[in-house]
């Protein structure tokens, strides 16, 4: 087993948990990405959009900060970033071409919109609150995703 990637996963997970706690402590909000960004774009609520836009900018600048830190430190002793194909790199390549991603995006947008949350809102925040709706949602999207990958990789066998 690849322990260094597991440890980096744990470290990153703790940061994500701290972010969710921080957003609740300061603004009283759930750190659900589909909710924060989806509401920002589709509803633009008055007086409630600035922090959402700031969150989105922060989300985008997080990996950039790590890229800059990584290039400053070099890749000698420990590697920042945890990309599967190239340890130490920060942002990976998409798994498919434009047609596949158009379909996937529509499913992710529609699904998280209808289901009121994604991996962060239901997964991280909902499970932390022991919410039954979030437990059911998380189990559902995990199982659906596992079946999808199984069908794509092992039944159709394209080796996505």
């Amino acid at each position: 087993m690849d322990w260094s990637s597991s440890l980096q996963g744990l470290a990153g997970g703790i940061l994500i948990g701290l972010s969710a706690t921080w957003l609740m402590a300061t603004l009283g909000r759930i750190a659900g990405i589909s909710g924060i960004i989806g509401t920002l774009i589709t509803a633009r609520p008055e007086g409630d959009s600035a922090w959402r836009l700031a969150f989105l900018l922060g989300l985008v600048s997080g990996p950039v900060l790590l890229l800059l830190a990584g290039s400053g430190l070099g890749d000698s002793t420990f590697s920042l970033g945890n990309v599967a194909g190239a340890p130490g790199e920060v942002i990976g390549e998409p798994a498919g071409g434009v047609p596949l991603m158009l379909v996937a995006g529509l499913l992710v947008g529609l699904g998280t919109g209808l289901g009121s949350g994604c991996t962060s809102g239901h997964g991280v925040c909902g499970l932390s609150r022991l919410s039954v709706r979030s437990m059911v949602a998380t189990l559902t999207f995990l199982v659906a995703a596992i079946i999808t990958v199984f069908v794509v990789r092992h039944v159709i066998g394209g080796g996505a």
């Binding site: 985008v60 997080g62 942002i91 798994a95 529509l106 659906a144």
Partner: protein, 142 residues
């Protein structure tokens, strides 16, 4: 400093830490996410550690924070109150899971990867937003 400005700064800090967490843990790489979902292949446990670390940290965090009467820069904690399980929740989550399994991107990593924008990622972000508009247009029953 005005409260509105402070709220914006708090939102930025939350996003920044979230984005850092995604990048450190490798979740901005669809290959690593798909490696976790591929239980019949060369299974990659990383995502389990990410979700576990996040949930345990936030479980403790919420317990400390929610003892207070209200958030530092808000009037009240805005927590979901619904308890019911409906078709919208389950069907929506299933659709999301299929899209996640096809691409390896859920909304957080997809937006967090904008700095390394590619054609396929842009295509996904555009239809994701279209999907959010569509979901709003589908009225909730009951």
């Amino acid at each position: 400093m005005k409260t509105e400005t402070l709220k914006t700064i708090m939102g930025y800090i939350a996003g920044l830490i979230f984005g850092l967490g995604l990048a450190v843990s490798g979740m901005t790489d669809p290959a690593r996410v798909l490696g976790f979902l591929d239980v019949a292949g060369a299974w990659d446990p990383t995502l389990m550690f990410v979700l576990g670390g996040a949930v345990i940290t936030n479980f403790i965090g919420y317990r400390l924070v929610l003892r207070r009467p209200n958030p530092v820069f808000g009037e009240r904690f805005q927590l979901p109150t619904r308890q019911d399980l409906d078709a919208r929740l389950i069907g929506g989550s299933a659709l999301f899971g299929i899209g996640w399994g096809l691409s390896g991107y859920c909304p957080g990593p997809a937006f967090a990867s904008i700095a390394g924008l590619t054609g396929p990622l842009l295509a996904m972000l555009v239809t994701m937003v279209v999907g959010w508009f569509l979901a709003r247009a589908i009225p909730a029953r009951g």
